[in-house]
Symmetry: C2
Subunit: 873 residues, 2 copies
């Protein structure tokens, strides 16, 4: 028979997957001989079985639970449900990884109308007994039976009001007895049944509630945000109660071995005299700092410090501990590696290394790479933020903090930026035409659009703060103001945005810039020594490129060339190209663009100082460059000497039903080889000139997007090579260059062996590859993905974290097939996934040479790459 | 050293891949001892080498050509370029399969200013010699050097006019000498060089021209239409000349051993006295029927008949032969299996079986499955067609012939159809709202849209004649008429459409219906005995289903359920469902739809008499059901008691950037399980009722579209199973049913092993799978695919023929993975590819259980399935 239940003494720290983190640590502490109220753990497998079994707990498991309960009775010398000498227990969830606040705790389980009387007698403390009972009824009703806690609070408040007192502690035994009667009546009214008096029923209902809680919407959301698989399940810990609410020689508290905000190596925590755990959390009474325990009960404090140090040394990490003092006797209820801020994580890791407790490698593994994001964007000055007024909230679309004057068009934003103002662009939604204005802005605020809207994606790429989808905003376009939260914000007024929380603030809050120094720098250096994966960045202008280099980027993995066309001076020229009726006219228009593109590339090459730069050729469908509103169309027609109808006809002819799957990428170069020719010329001339002027060893990497067939790549490559050789000849240069391709179409992955005959490198464009492989577009999927999360069909956003199971198969296949043809094929990834730690580990395992991500994720990628190397040694 | 050149006597019929069809047959005939002018063949590999070698013929090949030429000189006892006794040759292309008319022939090569003199002396026929020379100059200039033939014709015409004669034969030697001078002057003017006098140069230029011709646009197009790979290359046949233009005891002709139009077992052909091959083709003189040869030269005729019979018996197939008589001596210049109409193919195959010459299996293999299409649609009465007036031409979007009265809206078409009229629907372009009108029409004519437009795809599915993209049409919508080719066609006027040619005719041309009888029926019966692949049909109404059964369909592989919603009575109800604000309102609206869907399914189940029917649940995005024009929106708003703004808001909210990759397929059922519930109820109730009423053994197959994840299917399946069990219980039925899925998203193929845990069958939706795998949408790809064909990137339309190389990998993977999980998994294909013979062979090899295609392709699929079984024994 399978073992579904373990006594604490049967487990150990390495049984985390089976017993959950809490259960494993309780077992470990038991083995260490620490003062732990004993108990048992129902395994995570029992939880999985519950779900597979139509949400039923099978008898076998029930039997083992009651067997364990019997053992616990013997250990504690008490009996469950025995009024003479009752065993009371707590019931808590405990998954493999801590999911704080996801699932509630039930204390004092085992009390009923009879037992409470015996308990009062035995403890000689009727007030305490009835207080424990009313707490149990309240917690059980709320957590297990979904009777709202607030209704119980109302009864409690009434009783206090009636008696004219303020604190719960001012209620005496008789008051509490009356409250218990009312609580039970409320329960009966709500559930149409008596409050369960059988402790065994109470226990099994509580276990089921823990299992159920694994699938509540909060837990599902938390798992998605934290990459926790839904089939892990949670364990249940049943533990003998100890009581912090037995008087002034009792208490309960939470403490950390180091400061979780700053990392300072000093015990940090708080406790409450005469209280149960929930009181600390509830915040009704203000707890005292842990130091006060040294005054209140010095010998208990000393014991506490001894054990805290022992635990930190044992786990070799900062511990987050819960403890209870029952009549001067100290118990530990749990310990775990403490959550911490990124800043604290870095300091603690460095300190532990310096203290000789862990190695650099262990330090690297300890830090949550994702959390570094907090340190990589400007943030508000803490003091100023405390006084700031929140006027609304949108989605935290791109992290960081920004303050500036509000403008409502990209053009105004750009102009006022050029006049030296800090600006915030506020738009209904953004489109590619807004790029210049977005670039000029400190922050972007949109009324519509989700986390994957144009504004969000572009802003994240730029590292610009963005709050999207704030539907409460009403913009008045004629009079240039918007209203939000009862305030009217006019053009030119200051607001501040926090892209990490989605908060929108009134006024101009000062911000503090990110930099890599101190502990951060040390950790990054260690990471660089360990990792084998290179880290590049996605950047298409010198500012982003310089930023990325500052953050440690070793090259550019994706330099898009289309954003360059949206600038005010250039867009008329690209429109002219599109409206050209002949190849000759198109070439003439393109020739006008060469100096701009070349200038862009030169600036980037200069900033990159010889680091590799992969330049992707024109990708979006041409209609993205055309105007959509009547005025712009008329202006363009006039400018081009065409009728409005002619311009509209071209726009209509370029309209596509599914632009994502339309005439874009290398398909443009097949139809208009002259575009590829122009871009090749710009790249080669820029590279040769910078090489000559600065002496950098530049080897241009030209990347052809959206390839799905070897012949398609061969066709475009031929155009590129012909032009490149022409330029080399003209300029008397023998510069080397490489031509490669994106792998972003499923067919390219399937035929990677053939494509590698033509491609000198592959870069996985996992954004498009994800879209095509799943068959949904990022722009449209927002409408239904929530339903998928809700129904547990998907557990994470495949645009944020690579779907290793599905899309990953194509990446692996392409890597293997490509290398089979060309063993030295250089492989990289340049989708948004390139900055996601779990994807980075996948890339490491698949054998990619580098990942490329937005500048602000470069340090995350460096760390994640090092962790991948360590995890896969 | 590789052998690049083969003398005829060195080859044989089974060397077709190397020597091309013509070369292999010339070799075979040589071995049979038939009167063949000797020669040699430059291999197809030499052609491929030419392309791989930068369009150069390498010296090694050149050397082998001149070695072969030397051998030929010895055989013929003549010398190339020797004025005393010149060897003249013809140069012809010859690919593996015959590509009639793709590449031209050069005759009389080896003549120059000196040789022609000697030739005149030797033949004692200066007129003949100069006629041969002027023909050579003309052909060489045209075919090799691209000097337009017409310019030479002008000179010839001038000469005849000047002399006051009509026929070429009225020109004498002196006239021809003068013409030769003028021809050479023309050549020099055009090419800025003298006409090449060196016969070796002439020969090599001619060989190169043949190689080049393999890649001319006509050839590329022909290959694409006929599934011929571009890397096969063509061989070149160099053959000693014989002359049909040596006087009245000479001649040349073409003949078939049986009639290629009707299949009648009687020699069929024509010949010209005193002529070279080109004269027969050019049509300047009218050839005589082959019978006349019996009168003119009885002994030659007898010999001809003997050899023709010998060839047919040797190749066991109807032969298409070219012959020349040189001074009463008969030569065969080539033989090949003759092209034939579908009708002739069936008769010839049956006759050859009856004559004991071939087996039924061989007969099956002989017939081009695709060609059956000609027999499966109504066609115009031949006599009536001769008198008909073509007024315009569009794309041949869906084959068949149709005549009827013109109407300009789907509604008018429907109404007049209901009044008993035959109608032709004429639209700018069609949309899903037009479905009912399209169904009611005999034929559909659109101004916009290609071969893969909505009109074309839907019409092909229905087997309705359609001519699309006739851009010359100007529709006047207010006054209900259109103009085309100078004619004005008013509403109610008759026109006729030929969907196989794209021709648009004035008036009402009688049509003849298709039926399967006689030879066709015999062949189909044989095919059914041989094939292992089942053939189902795609049909979503009883009429199409009945048609398909008549054509031999063994079930329905794809019954779409959305078309049913577009009917006038129903669309308001589906719109009501879409505009519902609550689940309850949506359910109420859906309940109103149940009787309709159930009625549809009952009618289909009745027609199918117990044959399997796979019903696919709602697939398109909901916005397809909403009105787009202001009037309809206003009407809908009124109808629903909403404001116009509210309706517009819903429309706007449902707008998608890439609807193909949007909220559709099973994604709808995840968001609105009530839709799946309604459809399940309709299917189950219909099946149970028809089973009870008619006693058919119905096992409903419910197909969930667009699945990409096991959990997604599990979610929808649960809804289906719950509802189905509910209905079974209500109706007291124990009916079986199956739930399966489409495999049409790349991810579904990659994860087919997991998905098969939930799916009882897979049906490959290769339309969508092709779109997602290639990353282009069918609606948009038309804009650039032509460039892909032109540049030889793609050789065929991946929407017509399955891309076995890429998409096929996913199909194979899914089949293997699916069967690994569930060995009895039923596999089918229901994309448009299901009716394509080469795809059918692929499906056979991959181990699918059935293919499903439109009703009119069922016989093609039956035959192709039999051929696949034979080819893969």
């Amino acid at each position: 028979m399978k073992k579904w239940v373990y006594m604490f003494k049967e487990g150990s720290a390495d049984m985390r997957n089976l017993l959950g983190g809490k259960g494993a640590n309780l077992a470990e502490m038991t083995n260490l001989g620490l003062p732990i109220p004993q108990g048992f753990t129902v395994t995570t497998e029992a939880c999985t079985d519950y779900y597979n079994n139509g949400r039923q707990i099978r008898d076998e498991i029930k039997d083992q639970i009651f067997d364990a309960l019997k053992q616990l009775e013997e250990i504690q010398g008490k009996k469950f449900g025995d009024p003479e000498n009752p065993l009371l227990v707590s019931v808590r969830s405990g998954a493999r990884v801590s999911m704080p606040g996801m699932m509630d705790t039930i204390l004092n389980l085992g009390l009923n109308d009879v037992v409470v009387e015996g308990f009062a007698k035995k403890t000689n403390n009727p007030r305490f007994a009835y207080d424990s009972y009313r707490r149990f009824i309240q917690m059980f009703s709320d957590v297990v039976m979904e009777v709202p806690k607030s209704k119980f609070e109302e009864i409690l408040d009434e009783a206090k009001e009636k008696k004219g007192v303020k604190a719960d502690s001012d209620l005496d035994a008789e008051d509490l007895k009356e409250i218990v009667v009312k609580f039970k009546a409320l329960y009966k009214a709500e559930k149409n049944a008596d409050f369960p008096q059988d402790p065994k029923v109470q226990l099994m209902e509580a276990v089921k509630a823990v299992f159920r809680s694994w699938d509540n919407p909060r837990a599902i959301y938390y798992r998605r945000m934290n990459d926790i698989p839904g089939d892990w399940g949670t364990a249940v810990n049943v533990q003998a109660m100890v009581f912090g609410n037995m008087g002034n020689t009792s208490g309960t508290g939470v403490a950390f071995t180091r400061n979780p905000s700053t990392g300072e190596a000093k015990i940090y925590g708080e406790y409450l005299i005469n209280a149960q755990g929930e009181d600390v959390v509830a915040g009704i009474r203000t707890p005292s700092p842990i130091d006060k325990l040294a005054e209140d009960m010095p010998e208990v404090y000393e014991e506490f410090i001894r054990i805290a140090n022992l635990l930190e040394n044992h786990y070799k990490d900062m511990q987050d501990m819960e403890f209870t003092i029952e009549d001067r006797k100290l118990y530990f209820l749990q310990t775990r590696n403490g959550k911490r801020t990124a800043q604290a994580a870095l300091k603690i890791a460095c300190d532990l290394v310096d203290e000789g407790k862990i190695t650099k490698e262990e330090a690297i593994k300890r830090i949550d790479a994702k959390s570094l994001d907090q340190l990589l964007h400007p943030r508000f000055d803490d003091k100023a933020l405390k006084e700031a007024k929140v006027i609304g909230k949108g989605l935290p679309a791109s992290p960081g903090a920004a303050a500036g004057r509000v403008y409502f068009t990209a053009e105004d934003a750009k102009n006022h930026h050029d006049m030296g103002e800090r600006v915030i662009l506020v738009r209904l939604e953004t489109s590619p035409e807004d790029i210049e204005g977005m670039h000029a802005s400190e922050g972007i605020l949109t009324v519509r659009g989700g986390m994957t809207s144009h504004a969000a994606v572009v802003a994240r790429g730029m590292g610009t703060c963005c709050v999207s989808g704030c539907g409460d905003i009403v913009i008045n376009e004629e009079e240039n103001y918007f209203t939000l939260g009862g305030y009217t914000i006019k053009e030119g007024d200051y607001i501040s945005l926090d892209g990490s929380t989605g908060n929108i603030y009134l006024g101009d809050i000062p911000t503090v810039d990110a930099e890599i120094s101190g502990n951060f720098e040390r950790i990054m250096k260690w990471a660089d020594e360990i990792r084998t994966l290179k880290v590049r960045t996605n950047a298409d202008n010198p500012v982003d490129a310089a930023n990325a280099v500052k953050f440690g980027a070793e090259g550019i993995g994706l330099c898009r060339t289309e954003h360059m066309f949206f600038e005010a001076e250039r867009i008329p020229k690209i429109r002219k190209m599109i409206l050209s009726k002949s190849k000759e006219a198109r070439e003439a228009a393109l020739n006008e663009l060469i100096p701009y593109q070349k200038g862009d590339f030169k600036a980037i090459y200069e900033v990159m100082e010889g680091r590799p730069v992969t330049i992707r050729f024109l990708d979006p469908p041409l209609h993205e460059f055309l105007p959509t509103d009547e005025g712009d169309i008329a202006a363009l027609a006039k400018d081009m000497g065409l009728t409005v109808e002619e311009v509209k006809e071209t726009c209509a002819a370029l309209h596509e039903f599914n632009p994502m799957m339309g005439h874009r990428g290398c398909r443009l170069a097949v139809t208009y080889p002259e575009i590829a020719r122009m871009q090749t010329r710009a790249v080669m001339e820029a590279a040769i000139e910078v090489k000559k002027e600065k002496g950098y060893d530049i080897v241009p990497e030209i990347m052809i997007p959206l390839v799905g067939d070897k012949k398609e790549l061969a066709f475009v490559k031929q155009v590129v090579v012909e032009t490149a050789e022409e330029v080399k000849k003209e300029m008397g240069s023998d510069i080397e260059y490489h031509v490669g391709t994106m792998i972003e179409i499923p067919r390219a992955a399937l035929l990677a062996d053939e494509i590698a005959e033509e491609a000198e490198f592959f870069s996985f464009g996992t954004n498009d590859l994800t879209q095509m492989t799943f068959g949904f577009s990022r722009d449209d999927a927002g409408k239904f993905l929530e339903d998928y999360y809700k129904n547990k069909i998907y557990e994470f956003d495949p645009f944020a974290r690579l779907d290793q199971n599905g899309v990953g198969q194509l990446v692996k296949m392409a890597a293997e097939k490509g290398r089979a043809t060309r063993p030295d094929l250089k492989l990289g990834i340049c989708g948004e996934h390139g900055g996601d730690p779990s994807t980075i580990e996948f890339c490491h395992k698949v054998g990619l040479n580098y990942v490329s991500c937005s500048p602000f994720r470069v340090p995350i990628a460096r760390l994640a790459a090092a962790q991948s190397a360590l995890n896969n040694k």
